[in-house]
């Protein structure tokens, strides 16, 4: 498919296009360095291991983590969240989640609740409240805390609008309360500055294929000092092979089986590009596109932008004459890629009152331009 004329505005699902240097690094790795890391000490195996370690170091630097060895690779943010949830929670624990959480949080938590393992409560993100402030959100969280509250899971930025959460303040509250603070960074990694240490994040869950510009199928979960989860998958990890149990240190303790080294090498290059461009600069670029798009959409008859005051990489809107999927399909026919429906975010759509028909999401990435926004708005204005 020739994508040159396509307007891609679904970067919250996965970023596209990928930088050519990401593709080149992955291709070179498979051509010239394709050993299996941790499965030998020959040249190609060590080449692969060094490339993977380089990615751990880069992510550690980009997100200001406690050490490269705390960066554990997995398939993406969903698996990262499952590792955090199922690897750290115990029977009788109480968990707090925000009302903006993706199904990658809600479903594993709900499953543990159904199985009688945990209880959970949902706290108010105050997404559409004019009085919204970090202290009010923290007060709402504090009012729900119990003696057995052991974990709080919070998205860094919503996947259905550009609302962000006050991570530093929530992290401070969690630290004071002895609660493990887990952050779903699916929509903020590579889009907004994150410092794991400064924000007091115990577990940072990262996708590799969104704002970090890597390939699909690879992400990471980064544990702060003192957070030692159980692994969910056992198997060979190249360490203590005569033992029946898979013990030892992070990251190998969580990394059974062969790692997706080509994807990790691509992620490393994507993260390098993000570092080079600067996350603040990327964030400002996306906010500028958001403002341009919001202002233009609000002038189109029948369009209503949801949460217009939260500026960032994600813009959600409704059209009074078309359902979200129909609108997305019509735009697709005009070579514009946006996403309708519920975006795997039942909690958030309930919160916004868009459960009946979902809403249409436009999500910007570092490679979008004002021309893309203009094409979208022209197309929407032409649909009756």
């Amino acid at each position: 498919m020739d994508t040159r004329e396509l307007i891609y505005l679904d970067n919250a699902a996965t970023s596209f296009p990928k930088p050519s240097s990401v593709i080149d690094r992955m291709s070179d790795f498979m051509k010239y360095h394709g050993g299996n890391a941790g499965r030998g000490a020959h040249k190609l195996a060590l080449d692969a291991a060094e490339a993977i370690y380089g990615c751990r170091e880069r992510l550690c630097r980009l997100f200001d983590c406690d050490g490269a060895e705390r960066v554990c690779f997995c398939s993406g943010a969903t698996e990262a969240l499952n590792i955090a949830i199922k690897g750290l929670l115990r029977r009788g624990d109480h968990v707090l989640i925000s009302d903006l959480e993706h199904n990658a949080v809600l479903r594993p938590i709900h499953r543990l609740w159904q199985d009688g393992v945990i209880e959970y409560s949902v706290f108010d993100s105050m997404i559409d409240d004019e009085r919204r402030s970090p202290s009010k959100i923290c007060a709402s969280i504090a009012s729900l805390m119990r003696k057995n509250t052991r974990m709080l899971i919070c998205t860094g930025a919503s996947n259905i609008c550009s609302a962000t959460m006050p991570l530093r303040e929530i992290g401070e509250l969690c630290r004071k309360s002895g609660v493990i603070f887990v952050v779903d960074a699916a929509q903020c990694a590579g889009h907004l500055p994150i410092s794991q240490r400064d924000m007091g994040i115990d577990v940072l869950c990262l996708p590799g294929h969104k704002g970090l510009l890597g390939a699909q199928g690879c992400g990471a979960v980064v544990f702060g000092k003192g957070i030692e989860p159980k692994g969910l998958v056992e198997g060979g990890n190249g360490v203590s092979s005569l033992e029946k149990e898979m013990k030892g240190d992070l990251p190998e303790r969580l990394e059974a089986g062969t790692l997706p080294a080509p994807a990790i090498v691509g992620l490393s290059e994507g993260a390098r590009i993000v570092e080079e461009l600067g996350v603040e600069r990327i964030a400002e670029h996306e906010r500028a596109l958001f403002r341009l798009c919001r202002d233009a959409l609000e002038r189109i008859d029948g369009v209503r932008v949801l949460c217009p005051s939260h500026e960032g990489s994600v813009l959600l809107f409704e059209h009074e004459r078309f359902g979200s999927e129909e609108l997305a399909a019509r735009l697709s026919d005009m070579d514009i890629c946006v996403r309708g429906g519920y975006h795997c975010c039942a909690l958030g759509h309930r919160r916004l009152g868009t459960v009946k028909d979902g809403a249409t999401r436009v999500s910007f990435g570092v490679f979008n331009s004002s021309d893309d926004v203009e094409r979208l708005c022209e197309a929407l204005a032409s649909i009756y």
Binding site: A49, E69, V239, D249
Partner: protein
């Protein structure tokens, strides 16, 4: 008197830790090589990774690894 050309080894367990240690030693201008050990008679419980370095650097290696908080499973000297 010890012969410093004989390789010393430090067993660290996981490969990631060995790479971290190698990087730290490199920053301290101490050359080292990642090595794998798979002999059960060696005392390990299967595969493990570590570093090989010149025995003349043993004290410096100890100091760098301690400074990085890297736990050592075993020190050995090749005969």
């Amino acid at each position: 008197m010890k012969d410093s050309s004989i390789g010393c080894r430090v067993d660290l367990g996981a490969l990631t830790l060995a790479l971290k240690a190698q990087k730290a030693l490199g920053e301290a201008a101490i050359p080292s090589r990642v090595v794998k050990n798979s002999s059960s008679s060696f005392g390990s419980k299967g595969c493990s990774y570590g570093l090989q370095f010149s025995c003349s650097q043993r004290q410096n290696v100890e100091s760098v690894l301690a400074g990085e908080g890297i736990r050592v499973k075993r020190w050995t000297q090749e005969s």
